[in-house]
Amino acid sequence: MKIVGIVGSNAEVSYNRQLLKFIKNHFHSLFELDLVEIKDVPMFNQSNDQTYSEPVQRIHRKITNADGVIIATPEHNYTVPAALKSLIEWLSYKIHSLENKPVMIVGASYFNQGTSRAQVHLRQILNAPGVNGIVMPGNEFLLGNAKEAFDENGNLKDQGTVEFLKSCLEKFIRFINVVSVLEDKPAALLEDLHATGTIETTVEGVDMYAEDWLEQAAEKVNAVEGNTYVKLDRGLLTVDQINDFLRSMPMELTFVDSNNQFLYYNRTLPAEEMLASRTPGQVGNPLAKCHPEKVHKSVEWVIQQLRSGKTDSVRVHVPTHGPDKFVVHTYKAMYDQDGNYAGVNEYVLDLKPVIDWYLQQTGQKLVGNPDAVSGASVKGSSEGADTVSGASVKA
């Protein structure tokens, strides 16, 4: 999930900036927070329209592409700072960047009011018809006495405050999802690569980012291993036998559950020898951690295709392995017994040996076809290709 954090102050020293930085660093497992500064935004003036100036447009683009916005407002004279109000005026004059956008308000102040009055004004401002942001009710986060609130590393000192902030932010993520239902938006924007939710099988209380997630999680659920029998549909195998069986598969297999958590791969080779490398410590990670940020939108797109049922597999050729291989990643939707989406089975396979064997067995040859769709298909799947290449390069 992508959130824009607007620093409501244009001053050089700002506790609101510090608060947003803390949220960005401390809650990175909940969402990506992109901090936006307002100091280059000109004063709003109807007679000198600068809607299309670079500073305004840059912020407009970021907000448009974000799933939600957090505004951190100081309080000047019982209200919001002119600089922040000016930005909102630009964003509601010729363009309407905040329209139907989920918004959360936070604020930090020197004294004990913690911007209580400014927040009420900001709420009313965001409700105005030209602005039309959808502000999360309740969950007011007011940070008073901000000078004393942070330690030398910029972290909030008081644990209770951090816990309350966390609960507000988690509610905001759910609020974003509620708003999307309200707006009847395509679900494509909502793929939560950070796996902040839980499903029935999620092992709670273990850090998904931990290198030894597997060991911790296995202990927590008393997972069976070794020569314990497991009854399957249809057969009876020990855990060892299942492992032998999966390792012998002629392809690299990856299991991602419907919560976008990476749970399993058939470890047959060291990471650097795999077609799409995976490392043991990655098991348990949310998908966001497995991919560089620039391909997140593509990953979201692939999963949405599968989750929404538009298709049950997305297939992508990854050309980075040279002419001797034809490596294809197939993302196949998995379904539980009731037919509900259960996650992705990604299998990575080099088709070249299969094709060579086929040609040899049948005595046939490949003939180039000038009308072939290879060009078109490469182009058509370029979005997916980014996804995979990113994953395999980084992972």
């Binding site: 244009n10 050089e12 019982y78 209200t79 002119a82 600089a83 005026e89 009313q124 105005a128 030209g130």
Partner: protein, 198 residues
């Protein structure tokens, strides 16, 4: 004669709030000397560490300081006070305090029906903030709705009823200015408190 500052709350070249203040300036010429102050072209307030105030703000502050009262005419942008007016008020309360105990009357003109009612409510709260601490005349301010149609070709308010209302309110304001002069016991203390605040 009573000296009143008319603070134009808009930085737009075409402003019915400016027109309203200009009308008041002419219409009440025999009761008060109203000088208009513009907020255009002030730099964006950014809480400079050195507390340095732009010269044009300093001049504005001196004029307000010297006046018996201030009429602020505010547009309404996004249900609140325009950024440009907030900006002027930020500057005018940053280490300087010309508004302390100053009698203020709020007016506002809007293109629509509500006549800046919400902006006026916000402005009232803003003017009560510790570093402004103005004496805003109680009771509702003057709301001019459908302001684009409100003036004739001589730039005078067309509606006789509206003019009457404005006349009564302004007369009250002049009385309010007089009353405020008697409320002077706490002035020195207020001024001192405000200076200590920041």
């Amino acid at each position: 004669m009573v000296k009143i500052i008319g603070l134009v709350g808009s930085n737009s070249d075409h402003s019915t709030n400016r027109m309203l203040l200009q009308f008041m300036q002419r219409h009440f010429a025999d009761q008060a000397k109203i000088n208009l102050l513009e907020i255009k072209d002030l730099p964006v307030f950014n809480k400079p560490e050195d507390k340095k105030i732009p010269e044009e703000v300093q001049i504005m502050a001196e004029k307000i300081e010297a006046a018996d009262g201030v009429v602020i005419s505010t547009p309404e942008y996004d249900h609140s006070v325009p950024a440009a007016l907030l900006n002027a008020l930020h500057w005018l309360s940053y280490g300087i305090h010309p508004f302390v105990d100053k009698p203020v009357m709020i007016t506002g003109a809007s293109y629509g029906r509500l006549g800046t009612s919400r902006a006026q409510a916000h402005l009232r709260q803003v003017l009560e903030a510790p570093e402004l601490k103005a004496r805003v005349m109680p009771g509702s301010g003057f709301l001019l709705s459908y302001s684009l149609q409100a003036f004739d070709e001589g730039n005078n308010l067309k509606d006789r009823e509206e003019v009457k209302k404005l006349e009564k309110m302004f007369t009250d304001f002049l009385s309010f200015v007089e009353i405020c002069k008697q409320l002077n016991k706490a002035y020195a203390m207020n001024k001192k408190e405000v200076e200590n605040f920041s």
